[in-house]
């Protein structure tokens, strides 16, 4: 197991290295410079600024400098906010994004699991169909459409919640709901299929024959086994949280990572774009690693093959 973790960590580093390199050179290929919109500056001033940020050096030198900084956790300095280090910008904006992500992931999958469970237990009943419809709608309709409906109905029309911005908990309710639709629908669909299988298997029959109560059968013997494969969909869920954060944070004007990314794109603020991209990549790779390790821990059959299946 330890060897396996080490091996996976090594692969992770390689992936991150490739991503960082590709990102760097792609940014260098971009047309225009960060100063191309600054018409007020004279040529000399531009030259001074470029020199100060080391943008006149040959690209390989810049690359080495950037990678050197990266190892030390330094992502460079933002072009857009006077001399703020990218790391600081990202740190400042991490909070709302993480809160939103975790809230919606947890609440969403919790509700989804319950929905899927009820649907599986009362199979082909009214509840099952309702929950299937919710699942299909939830996984099909884009989250920004949901966000729009929520914002218009509950904030603009009914005025129950704030329309946008970030303050206390009540500001996070609508964005959380908009973000949690996807994990909810995915979990509901997944758990239903899994549980229908599990509830038909022989060990459930055994449990019933032993005289365990129905609740005990469903929760202790059924759900435990039905939950394991849910780990596999955490990956897509996490990705949806990331794309979702860009969209939802923009709609609700939340000062988070996603909103920062979108702003940086419009401002051509390369260091921040790179920093955000690397952060997303890092989060993604780490999540995939955790999923694989968890899976290995829970299901010993996978661990043996050591990922070389």
């Amino acid at each position: 197991m330890f060897r396996y973790i080490l091996q996976r960590l090594f692969y992770m580093l390689i992936t991150l290295f490739i991503i960082a390199t590709v990102t760097f050179f792609m940014m260098k290929m971009l047309p225009g410079s960060p100063l191309s919109a600054e018409d007020k500056l004279s040529e000399e001033q531009k030259a001074i600024v470029l020199e100060k940020y080391g943008l006149n050096d040959p690209v390989p030198v810049q690359y080495l400098r950037y990678m050197g900084g990266l190892v030390k956790g330094d992502l460079g300095v933002s072009f857009a906010f006077d001399n703020t280090p990218v790391t600081k910008i990202l740190m400042d904006r991490m909070g709302p994004s993480l809160q939103l992500g975790f809230q919606s992931l947890l609440i969403g999958s919790f509700i989804g699991i319950i929905l899927g469970l009820i649907a599986a237990v009362f199979r082909n009943g009214a509840i099952d169909y309702t929950s299937t419809i919710i699942a299909v709608l939830g996984s099909s309709i884009p989250n920004f459409v949901f966000a729009g409906i929520l914002q218009y109905v509950f904030a603009v029309r009914l005025e129950w919640f704030p329309v946008a911005l970030w303050g206390g908990f009540e500001y996070s309710i609508l964005p959380t709901i908009a973000l949690m639709i996807f994990p909810m629908a995915t979990a509901a669909r997944f758990i239903r299929t899994e549980m229908v299988d599990v509830l038909n298997s022989n060990f459930i029959l055994t449990a019933r024959a032993k005289g365990i109560s129905e609740v005990g059968v469903v929760f202790k013997h059924g759900l435990r086994n039905g939950l394991i494969p849910l780990i596999t969909v955490i990956g897509p869920m996490a990705v949806s949280m990331m794309t979702g954060s860009m969209v939802i944070e923009q709609i609700f004007a939340i000062p988070g990572i996603g909103e920062q990314f979108v702003t940086s794109v419009t401002l051509n603020d390369y260091p921040t774009i790179m920093g955000t991209t690397l952060l997303f990549a890092f989060l993604f790779v780490v999540i995939i690693l955790i999923i694989d390790l968890l899976y290995g821990l829970i299901d010993p059959r996978i661990r043996v093959s050591g990922g070389n299946s």
């Binding site: 290929m29 971009l30 990705v239």
Partner: protein, 384 residues
């Protein structure tokens, strides 16, 4: 006695058995191929069939919709900006919201102030505004509420003009732009899906079929590619390339084929050692023939299902990119950019958001339901 009666069976009931052909081995129903079974299962699935109809209608509308009125995609005219939907005949039915009026609740300290607010918002055209008092108010701040309805088409002396879905902030016809946008979104989705299909099937097919070293190298490459989140790749590609349809397709295709390649490889690995392949080889079929005629038809189900699910994904990604400003550039429209524009005007002109949002949701739901239907149809366990 009853027992006696049973023994005394009347003679006329005893008829000699006529010799018939043995039917016990006969197959009762017509024998159908797997594809016929799948087709039957699919057409029995009502939701999927309705979805197919819906998709066909949407595709037809995206082709012919923009030509159905005289306005072009980029006919800007600020004098007719932000007109609400106005449809002939349907304008008589007030609750549909297609009667060409803007309405909203306005607040003020008293009814007069609220009215003044409403009139100021609606171009000061007092004679075309109906005011309905909702709450008289008690003189405190913003306590009075009035419902104002603004007959904008009459006010602008355009009551004979019909913008079916209204106009956007630059006075462009929303109907035309909606279907143009749908066309763009669908083209992107289909092209991305087809490229993913071709590359994925070829890559996975080669890796699976030749196996050994080829497979090993090809799979390592895929593993590295899969490790890089496609969100990041797509975003980077969009930053580097000139925004537009082609770059979105390129960005989506670069990452889109890996899933298909893995699935196809797995299936090919499973099938290539089976007897029918051996038989084909023994009969002297070339590798290409074996792949094209014997392996591909057997995995076509899985390929079709996978492609059906990539289409809604691509539509979503396109909308997402256009939404965050990395996709389609104005004056072109796509569903994502229309929705983005709708959000900017959500408070006052919700109709700008409603129609593209409803349309994209319908498209996504329809494609997902078709995908589900196909998956069930190609699953032999579901055949009855």
């Amino acid at each position: 006695m009853a027992t006696n009666d049973q023994n005394k069976i009347p003679k006329e009931l005893l008829v000699p058995l006529v010799r018939k052909e043995d039917t016990s081995e006969k197959i009762s129903g017509p024998s159908r191929t797997f594809m016929q079974d799948a087709r039957r299962a699919f057409f029995k699935n009502k939701l999927a069939v309705i979805s197919v109809f819906l998709v066909v209608i949407i595709i037809l509308m995206s082709i012919f919709g923009p030509q159905m009125n005289e306005y072009g995609t980029d006919d800007q005219d600020l004098t007719r900006a932000k007109m609400p939907p106005h449809v002939p005949v349907l304008e008589k039915i007030s609750w549909l919201g297609l009667d060409g009026t803007l309405s909203g609740k306005y607040r003020g300290n008293d009814v007069e102030a609220a009215t003044a607010n409403a009139i100021a918002r609606y171009d000061n055209k007092e004679e075309f505004i109906d005011i309905k008092v909702v709450d008289e108010g008690d003189g405190s701040r913003n306590s009075a509420v009035v419902d104002a309805t603004y007959h904008i088409y009459d006010a602008k002396d355009m009551s004979d003009q019909y913008f079916w879905l209204g106009t956007d902030t630059l006075g462009r016809d929303q109907w035309t732009r909606l279907w143009e946008g749908t066309r763009v979104s669908l083209i992107i989705a289909f092209v991305a899906a087809v490229i993913g299909l071709v590359v994925g099937v070829a890559y996975g097919g080669i890796a699976g079929f030749y196996g050994g070293k080829v497979d090993n190298v090809m799979m390592r490459i895929i593993e590295i590619l899969v490790g890089i989140p496609n969100l990041v790749v797509v975003l980077l590609m969009m930053l580097v390339l000139q925004p537009g349809i082609t770059s979105i397709v390129v960005a989506l295709s670069i990452t889109g084929w890996t899933g298909m390649a893995r699935i196809v490889r797995g299936e090919v690995l499973k099938l290539k050692n089976q007897e029918f392949v051996l038989a084909a080889r023994t009969l002297g079929q070339s590798n290409g023939k074996v792949i094209m005629k014997h392996l591909l038809p057997n995995i076509s189900g899985i390929i079709i299902i996978n492609t059906m699910f990539t289409i809604p994904d691509a539509i979503f990604f396109e909308a997402f990119l256009s939404f965050i400003g990395l996709g389609i550039v104005p004056p072109d429209a796509s569903l994502g950019s229309l929705i983005n524009a709708g959000f900017d005007n959500l408070r006052l002109y919700p109709y700008l958001l409603v129609y593209p949002a409803v349309l994209i949701s319908l498209i996504m739901i329809a494609f997902n339901l078709i995908g589900d239907g196909l998956r069930d149809a190609f699953d032999p366990k579901m055949h009855k």
